[in-house]
Symmetry: C2
Subunit: 378 residues, 2 copies
């Protein structure tokens, strides 16, 4: 067993970092013809203030960042002490409300007639509450209105994503040495989760272990199925390290593969490489999907590749930009996203290969560095 390296914690983001992000967000909103941004607990609020309440509940917490004005956050009174301690809260006005009062009235006073970008995952209950108060104010989902708010990562964010990717790679290298045949998917998944934590993840979000026919269900997580000699096994795993995500997939084989299994694996490997080769500043996101898909379609497996080829990653595992047909957004240096083509043969087996990639001035750089060749496990 490789000794895990003790990851050095990157310096925390400062009040100045958060203030600069809010200023940039307000400028982007102005350029998009919006009156401002409305953020709720989750990645957007964390990005702009460093604040994450203990839990996301029915009690309204909402940050309003107006174009040309002061940012103000509405918080439940019993969470006020926590909000005051957030690293980016010093420059944000705080308005508290108590149980039994109307938090939408308190928030409505901060909004003007006009259109606001609203966090994707804001609760519908809260949006309906605001709509009832202010019929002349409208909202657009962040992914629609300002999809690039968090998409271009700065060097400190890329440092965190790189560290998360390296830990995922270390966990993958170790899992190749464990026993697969005769153990359940859940047991192998548990090993993988332990390894991710051991190599520095603070949180494990998913450990897909899809063996044999289960690998053909792309969202199968893991189950009681006992892995057998001769199985293909899809391993898709990730979590958070220093607040930023990892997401890696490799497909391994227990014992020697058949010629068909190897052929399908190599098609997916080549598709992944083709997607990677398409990464360069200025290329529309959809070209990454097309490049990977073309390889799979040419090999005759197009109908078995049933999802987009990738998604952005940062404070969350899935965020803009999406590498999907119809997405014309151009790639920019600093964007980070997955490239993860797959082929799923129902009732038989599946193959998926995924790396996180960041856009550089002259192409792409992989944040996962383990071999994409099919590994044989025992």
């Amino acid at each position: 067993m490789t000794e895990p390296t003790t990851p050095v914690a990157p310096p925390p983001f400062t009040a100045a970092d958060y203030a600069a992000r809010r200023e940039r967000a307000a400028r982007s909103a102005e350029a998009a013809g919006l009156a401002g941004l409305v953020l709720t607990p989750g990645p957007d609020l964390l990005y702009l203030t460093g604040y994450a309440p203990v839990a996301i509940t029915e009690r309204l917490t909402m940050l309003v960042v107006p174009v040309g004005g002061e940012a103000t956050m509405v918080v439940p009174r019993l969470e006020l002490p926590d909000a005051q301690e957030a690293p980016g809260a010093a420059a944000v006005g705080l308005v508290d409300w108590t149980d039994g009062s109307d938090p939408y009235a308190a928030t409505a006073r901060l909004l003007q007639p006009g259109r606001y970008a609203l966090s994707d995952s804001a609760w519908a209950m809260h949006l309906l509450g605001l709509q009832a108060h202010l019929p002349a104010t409208t909202y657009a989902a962040m992914t629609t209105a300002l999809p690039m708010l968090r998409a271009v990562k700065d060097e400190h964010e890329i440092q965190r994503l790189t560290a998360a990717g390296a830990s995922a790679d270390a966990a993958y290298a170790e899992i190749l040495g464990v026993r697969f045949a005769g153990r359940s998917e859940t047991e192998v998944g548990s090993d993988l989760a332990d390894l991710l934590r051991r190599f520095g993840h603070s949180q494990v979000d998913f450990t897909v272990v899809g063996s044999g026919p289960n690998g053909a269900n792309p969202h199968h997580e893991m189950g009681d199925r006992v892995i057998r000699d001769g199985d293909m096994v899809v391993l898709d795993f990730g979590g958070l390290q220093h607040g930023y995500g990892s997401d890696t997939t490799r497909t391994v084989h227990v014992g020697e593969p058949t010629a068909e299994e190897r052929a399908v694996h190599d098609v997916v490997r080549d598709a992944q490489q083709a997607g990677f080769a398409a990464v360069r500043p200025g290329a529309p996101c959809e070209t990454v999907d097309r490049a990977a898909r073309a390889v799979i379609t040419a090999a005759g497996y197009g109908e078995y590749f049933i999802h987009r080829v990738g998604h952005g990653i940062g404070l969350t595992t899935h965020e803009p930009p999406y590498m999907v047909e119809g997405e014309h957004q151009q790639l920019e240096p600093g964007m980070c996203f997955s490239i993860e083509p797959g082929v799923y043969l129902p009732g038989r087996f599946g193959v998926r290969i995924e790396d996180i990639v960041t856009v550089t001035p002259d192409g792409g750089r992989r944040l996962n560095r383990t071999s994409r060749e099919m590994a044989i496990v025992a």
Copy 2:
């Protein structure tokens, strides 16, 4: 250490249970003048179909339950196999959509002009997507439109909540024997989490350990503070067992309390009892809050009780009915909720005492049975 009992798993809910719930939901919607219900992943969808996707993401999953029609669920194509396996899915039509297509168009075809109750925590992005497609269709948050959808628990649900409460009680009884003084809040919280799992919880959602002045911040979770002799310590803990929640609070003292500490504790204990005594079918929810609050106010601590007295509990920790001023909903047998008054003296200490209570035909029954007297710990 008491030997943990191995909890017997209650029989799973059946396809017929889910069908009966959907039928009742549709009748309630009709009675409320609604065209139907629109549910997204989370407790509502779980309640009506038994289906919980592996993760709640930006990919739309939405169940439409119309008044007088067939329920239909829109799911991402790559999650279709999981949705088909849900226990309540057999009688639900499934419509899948692929990345790059418009899931809101697919959902809009299932909706009529009219008003629908929508899951509170549906993503705003999804609501905005539907609103853009169907301007003549409107939505109301479930908590506003059909707050009682999941509020009255049947005997199998109460059985689960009772088991979760008993496990929380067993964990509390054990934690009284561990060392507090000289250990950090985080260490004691970790003990508490281990005990909840040992006594049958599948998931621990929170373990608040608020010692000394930290106890005066009701949403403080736990931290590095080392607990000292002479500290009051608020312990508020809960999670899920067989899918249903626990949520219990006791306030303990390290060594002998001062007369003031004891007096505040006993006021809160009496307030909790007064709230419990107010529970009976037909009583408006707000009367439970008033009964508890009156005791604290009379003792001169009214301004330090800064939250509602309780919340419903079931598939989630916070759900209707809420025991709060202004809530006129009448209590009914089978409702289950917390009664948790508190007094928070800033910079000094806090006290909160919480039991889960279910409404019976002739009053209330506590699902937590440990003593509410102040326990002295070492």
